[in-house]
Amino acid sequence: MELLERYLQAVRTFLPRKAQDDILHELSENILSQMDEREAELGRRLTEAEQEQVIKQHGHPIVVAARYGRRQYLIGPGLFPIYWLTLKLGLLIALALRFIIAIVTVLVSADPIHQILPALLPVPAVIVPVFAWITGVFIAFEYFAPRMNLRFITDWSPRSLPALVKRSAIIPRADSVAQIIMIGAFILWWQSIPTAPYLLFGPGAAVVALAPVWAQLHWPIILLAVAGLVLASVNLASPHWTVTRTRIRLALRAAAFVILLILVRAGTWVVVADGIRDPAQFSSVIAIVNQISFYGLLCALVITGLQLAWEGVQHLRDPLAPPAVQCRQALRKS
């Protein structure tokens, strides 16, 4: 019966210490009874292969021992949906916050271009601690919940739930995440341009440089982008338009319009780079780039102005309708 003893020894390893002897005694007796009956049927002693077969039917030692455990799960099916939702939200918010911190770190550094990678690389590392903390809290909650007086589970009313949100006012979280990534990338790029103009002009950076108006508007543009980033982060955490947020969005669009207006009125957007011996040699190139810039900025100004006017009028009509939806609804009606 060496096989049986080896099996029981293996099961013992994974059993709770207090119940080991009792469980193994019972398990051993049941296996022996099964073997006795098989021997009675065959009219002879079992071979080692037949003994192995009987033992194997009971299952792998780890599986057998695990079934004697008091708890077969860390977070039960009742709590799991709340855990899953909290985990997804927690990870999204933590990643967004960590990304914003990385951007701020780059903004305040003296050498932004060389700070981008060191600031961005640690961002995904936030996933592990957030996962561990949320999971740990829910495991503890699952364990202690039966002993806690969880009034919010029993004493609740539909009246205490959040106010009704229009389906059309819901902001897809994927949109907010995409906005955070795009605006973040823009801020990093824009902040790097003064020290690394080749990121804008490529090889032409040796000849062309930005006109002084861009330096004057550098921080207003950054501030506007950061405000957009914060708005997208708030939308990620609470994914529906409110009157306040719709107004903030309108205000941001108005600020963008003002910045574009100042830019269009500047008249010159690129100049010959410092250190060029004969600037006149490049005057026609500069004139062409300035002309293209003018048309580009004018288009952006007109589009932003029309959007601002349209959304402003729609907002006055129905303050709760979000700007993008107002546009879609109006297009559908027409």
Partner: protein, 128 residues
């Protein structure tokens, strides 16, 4: 995929019934091995790895009582329903019968609807 899905649903359906079957068998005394055989003979096969931990859990919940006793020169743990277990078993049995009769009603009304639908469809085809 369909086989896996069926197997999952079948196990889910059986899980609650198994407890009822074990409690029912333990109105008479059994030790683990004979209990498993008795269940299998009545068409409710259950593997050892599920049955023995289940017995311990039901005992810890006070539904069963057990004692070690010698039989055929071997010590065996015999289980039977406790007084509290017998009461719970009666209540569970009533619940199970109620579920069964509800399900029968639902299934028979479903069959009636199907038959009525088939008759109506037949009449419609006959008219056209």
């Amino acid at each position: 995929m369909n086989d896996d899905l069926f197997e999952n649903l079948r196990l889910e359906l059986r899980r609650g019934c198994l407890i009822l079957a074990v409690l029912a068998q333990l109105r008479a005394e059994h030790y683990g091995y004979t209990l498993r055989k008795a269940l299998a003979d009545d068409g409710m096969a259950i593997d050892e790895g599920t049955l023995y931990p289940l017995l311990r859990r039901l005992e810890a919940q006070g539904l069963l009582v057990s004692e070690w006793r010698e039989q055929d020169k071997r010590n065996k743990r015999f289980y039977h329903l406790s007084a509290g277990g017998a009461q719970i078993f009666e209540r569970l049995l009533r619940e199970w019968r109620s579920i069964n009769s509800s399900l029968d009603r639902i299934l028979s009304s479903g069959e009636e609807i199907r038959e009525t639908g088939a008759v109506a469809l037949g009449a419609e085809n006959g008219n056209s």
